[in-house]
Amino acid sequence: MSVELEVHDSQGLPTEEMTLNMGPQHPSTHGVLRFIVKADGEVMRRAIPDIGYLHRSIEKIAEKVGWHGFMPYTDRVDYVAAMACNQGWAMAAEQLAGIEVPRRGEYCRVIAAELSRICSHLLGVGAMGMDMGAITPFTHALRERDMIMDLLEELCGARLTFNYMRIGGVAWDLPHDFVEKVSHYLDHLEPVIEEFNQLLGYNRIYVKRFADVATVDADMAIAWGLVGPNLRGSGVDFDVRRDLPYSVYEDFDFDVPLGSGEMGSLGDCWDRYIVRMREMVESIRILRQALAGIPEGPVIAKVARNFKPPVGDVHVKIEAPRGEQSWYVSSDGSEYPHRVHIRTGSFTAMGIIDRLSRGLMIADLVAVIASMDIVAPEVDR
């Protein structure tokens, strides 16, 4: 499969193009991804992604396990931020059947989803540091993640793949002292995020490796389908929670951080990093408001065990930590879905890597993948 071209460098000396293989097993946290890199020395001509090493046919399994039974599988669509995917599926089924979730259930969903968002961003920025060679910030991020996973374990029993939400609401109510524990934890977390940013984000080596690398301007980001922090890092002011609000996000007051070319050019890797750091601070704001304003009441609506929504299909958009997920769910009136398709943020981010990597160095490929915060299960499902 290797193609060797006679190419010449600036002094007229002949060089050869190499074909290198990166992955599918590699020391990175992004999962099983493979790149076939055609490089002229250190400079890449192309980096062709080869995906599918984690294709677990989740969409086909939906047609076999039914509406209620699919909820654990949605955790595995993006296991780093499992609550958001739970919410996408639950919302799609509820829209099809016209079910309204009680307000307390919606607040529980928002609390769980925002805690999960902080978890996901911590892993994302920790992995960005680790891919650049800074192992210690990753352990700091894991330490904070462990504490959030303890809180979520009190809430729903699982550390990673929660299966907390149900069609019609959430499975269990908040434990009796959960609000105090989460508030106490958020007080602890805010200075830690600030310290993390000072240690990692403004570190000279980190800035040199991330600034001005793989700049994506706004038009290119929109045309190639980038979403979430990748899109906002390029300056496009769009967040599904604010602009196409779902659940109870209209009740909360939060800002949407955008990239601004602070360290380099607008839309480079550093912008995508700082958007995630600032989003964690905004998530803390939302959490504090949700914990203060949570109403009393039931947490789940009455939904039939033999759930059969009417015939039709629907598109649901949610703001997952890795970007907007668009869920297409089609029902044929039976207790098994007819078709479930999830267009995830990481899938389109992988699609643009080939285009971005032309002219970059091989080490920059790692920076691009890390800054796009790609995880393999979202790409392959």
Binding site: I222, D313, V314, S326, R339
Partner: protein
């Protein structure tokens, strides 16, 4: 602009290549002829007031009893903040749909995924090959009549029933 306005603009330009506006139980959608899809998408992207600059989702669904595979395009406009759903039907025996890769580069991988899992050929695509499954996979799994192969490169895909094994 709401879906009636978008539909009127499309009808005015493409006449019968664009079907009726189906209000649908949940979201409005427009059926478009397969031959006209690329022109329709280019018009939707470039026309003043419509400006659908983003292909948000492209899914395929298999309807064996209707003898067709349907591709569902969900478009979104960041400038105008409106969205529309288009449907394109392809004959199930030999499904062919023109590609919209030239309109939105995001369609490149989304169409490859539908080719891989449902077997729809997107004519004009620059690189139509399998994306999620291995290159030598046989069959299109998301079709309703898909039969699994008994093994793949010597690894058996048969699932033993552990209960009957234990009884023996």
């Amino acid at each position: 602009m709401d879906s009636t306005g978008i539909h009127a603009a499309l009808r005015g330009r493409f006449d019968t290549a664009v079907g009726e506006l189906a209000p649908g139980p949940f979201e409005a959608s427009i059926e478009v002829d397969a031959s006209a899809i690329e022109a329709v998408c280019t018009f939707l992207r470039d026309e003043e007031g419509l400006e659908f600059d983003n292909l948000s989702n492209l899914s395929g669904a298999d309807y064996p009893e209707l003898e067709r595979i349907q591709a569902v395009y969900s478009l979104f406009s960041y400038k105008q903040r409106h969205s529309i759903t288009l449907r394109v039907n392809a004959d199930r025996a030999a499904p062919v749909i023109p590609t919209v890769e030239a309109v939105w580069p995001a369609a490149n991988w989304l169409e490859r995924e539908i080719f891989d899992l449902l077997g729809v050929e997107f004519s004009g695509h620059c690189d139509l090959r399998r994306i999620l499954l291995p290159e030598d996979w046989v069959g299109y799994p998301l079709r309703k009549d898909y039969e699994e192969q008994p093994d793949y490169h010597g690894i058996s895909t048969v699932r033993e029933n552990l209960l009957t094994m234990k009884r023996d």
